[in-house]
């Protein structure tokens, strides 16, 4: 991870330019860019609300605004996760002309994909934050957890982005595999539901390293209590592992990129 940070510092302007390229192209029509950024979180939230209404029908409860906001809070990081993985998986193979023609650290490609998705997530967050401020949900000191949770998510996503972009360069069908997994991953991740609904078996869902982060966000923003520290430590462990191993793996494989693409 240290190597990664060093690399980022040395090539921060390149990283900035590539992220800026993605963002500028997407936001050329500023209104459309904004709509793109909120489209996926909006759809996820709508689907989540549908699921909540169905559940309420069965159990005889009502859907409270806090529950809707809970889904919205989780929809933005989940959308960030999905779109980052999707775009970074293909970023090296899509930039084949650069990979085979010009020498510079290839890690800037997956990382800039993540950064430009982070920008989208920031735009979408403004909508969620506005809704949250207007809502009766209490603001507590637990909010202090939010930066840590986001950092863990970004590290996990960056690690996966490095691994998957390299994998897709060597095996072109990795992107189809990733696509299938991403399509159904939402059912294995507590976005529409809370893991507590599974009672004793909740731990199975928490094994998904993104789950403790999303649960944690909903805990500290909506419910106003501390995230489950044990599971958070587990997720942090996964982040650290990815943060260390992924850059090492990427740099080992890098010399083979140009001839394998």
């Amino acid at each position: 991870m240290l190597a990664l940070i060093r690399l980022l510092r040395r090539h921060k302007y390149l990283l900035y330019m590539l992220s800026w390229r993605d963002i500028t192209v997407k936001y050329k029509q500023s209104v459309m860019g904004f709509l793109w950024a909120i489209l996926m979180p909006l759809l996820i939230t709508s689907a989540g609300v549908l699921v909540k209404i169905a559940l309420a029908q069965v159990t005889g409860g009502t859907v409270r605004f806090a529950a809707v906001l809970g889904v919205a809070v989780k929809s933005v990081p989940w959308a960030f996760f999905v779109s980052s993985i999707r775009s970074s998986t293909q970023c090296l193979s899509n930039n084949a002309n650069l990979v085979t023609k010009i020498a510079f650290p290839r890690a800037v490609f997956p990382l800039s994909s993540v950064i430009s998705q982070l920008f989208d997530a920031a735009i979408a967050s403004t909508v969620v934050i506005a809704a949250w401020i207007l809502s009766p949900v209490a603001i507590t000191l637990q909010l202090a957890w939010v930066p840590l949770l986001i950092a863990l998510l970004v590290i996990q996503v960056s690690g996966l982005a490095l691994i998957l972009s390299a994998a897709n360069l060597f095996f072109r069908d990795v992107k189809y595999l990733v696509e299938v997994i991403l399509t159904f991953a939402i059912f294995f991740t507590p976005v529409f539901y809370d893991t507590s609904m599974f009672g004793k078996r909740a731990w199975i869902l928490m094994l998904n390293p993104v789950a403790p982060i999303l649960e944690g966000l909903s805990n500290c923003i909506i419910q106003g209590h501390t995230p489950n520290l044990m599971w958070l430590a587990y997720s942090a462990g996964v982040s650290l592992l990815l943060g260390f191993a992924a850059p090492i793996m990427f740099q080992r494989l890098e010399p083979k990129f140009a001839e394998s693409i």
């Binding site: 390149l14 192209v25 023609k101 010009i102 140009a258």
Partner: protein, 399 residues
């Protein structure tokens, strides 16, 4: 000798021929098959570069020539650090930048202005550097009016010009130049070559990888000829270019079975110094030596000049010039020295020499190319002949 900035030590690169598994769909069944059958697939490997050893000094202009598939591009990618050698090493001291494919990394939807920044960064320039050179780059590309147009609307020539302009302003310690000098129209090419010279004058080491022999011969002091990944010849450019031209044509027929053969052709300048570069209309001296294996009579020598497309631009003979035919006894040698004023446009030219018996027109030996030389001019002239044009007057008359 000044400092060595680029050095290859036993550089080797192995490639695999044919298709290899680049999808899991193919790999997994193949792995399964291999474990079941226990059979190893035969590796179809070949050497793209084999034991290259060379050194390039600070400030030198070095040419790399070779036919297609000789390993030029592979070497280039090693120089740039895109490919890693299989064994051996390649040492680069200082910042290296490559003019490989101009415009790689342009984004179609971004404007010319944005792409200058983007491409400059990709090529390794800092923000401040790009900013300070921005005007220079724009002026060089001659695209001032189109700066705010997305590059997808550019013509291919404009695209290449912008790409070249950015790449040429990187200011590296070592600059690697591929075929990019052939982008744009004639004027832009001249400008590009002029820019290269300027870069070289500033002390930058330049490595040219090219088919464009006149440019290599004109710009580089030393060169290297690659064939099948090996160095065939390395040394002064004129020697290497000669080796290249000779290998490109049919091998000279063994001289033993001929009655008389061309044994030596030497090209010199007016001062008698052996040389391959001329500035039109400089005088070239061509010394042609013929050797007789047995007694021959009434010999005449034809000298001709062909351009790079092997189109004949000039020919004459000793007989046509009014010289007496020559009689030679077995083992005798004869030297004819020709003087030619090179009223030619810039380019590469090949000498052709024939020895024949003038009355029966019997041809004894043919040597094409017997020598290669390069012509440059101070003025911008094109076509075939350099007529040393001048504008005598320019006047404007009222309506």
């Amino acid at each position: 000798m000044s400092e060595i900035v680029l050095e290859a030590k036993d550089l080797c690169k192995k490639f695999r021929k044919g298709e290899f598994y680049n999808s899991l769909r193919d790999l997994i069944p193949a792995l399964a098959k291999r474990t079941v059958a226990g059979k190893q697939l035969a590796d179809k490997e070949f050497w793209a570069l084999r034991d290259l050893n060379f050194q390039i000094a600070q400030g030198e202009a070095f040419g790399v020539i070779g036919h297609n598939g000789a390993g030029k591009s592979t070497l280039l990618k090693h120089l740039c650090g895109i490919l890693a050698p299989t064994s051996g090493e390649l040492i680069v001291r200082g910042r290296l930048s490559a003019l490989i494919e101009v415009g790689a990394g342009f984004h179609q939807d971004l404007t010319g202005r944005d792409n200058i920044y983007l491409n400059g960064t990709i090529l390794g320039m800092s923000k401040a550097e790009i900013r300070s050179k921005f005007d220079e780059i724009v002026a060089f590309s001659e695209l001032e009016e189109f700066l705010d147009t997305p590059v997808k609307r550019y013509s291919s020539g404009m695209y290449a010009r912008l790409g070249f302009a950015v790449a040429a302003h990187v200011n590296p310690d070592v600059l690697v130049v591929d075929e990019v000098l052939s982008v744009g129209d004639y004027l832009f090419q001249r400008k590009s070559i002029e820019k290269m010279r300027q870069v070289m004058r500033s002390g930058t080491t330049v490595v040219f990888v090219s088919h464009n022999l006149p440019v290599v011969a004109d710009v580089c002091q030393r060169a290297m000829l690659l064939e099948n990944g090996k160095i065939i010849s390395i040394g002064p450019t004129s020697d290497v270019v000669r080796a290249y031209v000779e290998r490109g044509t049919s091998p000279p027929v063994s001289s033993d079975d001929k009655s008389v053969y061309v044994s030596r052709v030497t090209i010199r300048n007016a001062n008698g110094v052996e040389c391959a570069q001329f500035r039109a209309p400089e005088r070239m001296i061509a010394e042609v030596e013929i050797t007789a294996n047995r007694a021959v009579q009434k010999l005449a020598i034809v000298i001709e000049c062909r351009n790079d497309e092997m189109y004949g631009v000039f020919d004459t003979s000793t007989q046509r010039l009014g010289e007496k035919p020559v009689n030679l006894a077995a083992g005798e040698r004869f030297v004819a020295t020709f003087g030619l004023n090179l009223h030619l446009v810039p380019g590469a030219y090949h000498l052709g020499i024939y020895v024949y018996r003038y009355d029966t027109q019997e041809n004894y030996d043919t040597r094409i190319p017997a020598g290669t030389f390069f012509v440059n001019t101070d003025t911008d002239v094109r076509g075939v002949a350099h007529l040393e044009p001048v504008v005598i007057s320019q006047e404007k008359f009222g309506a």
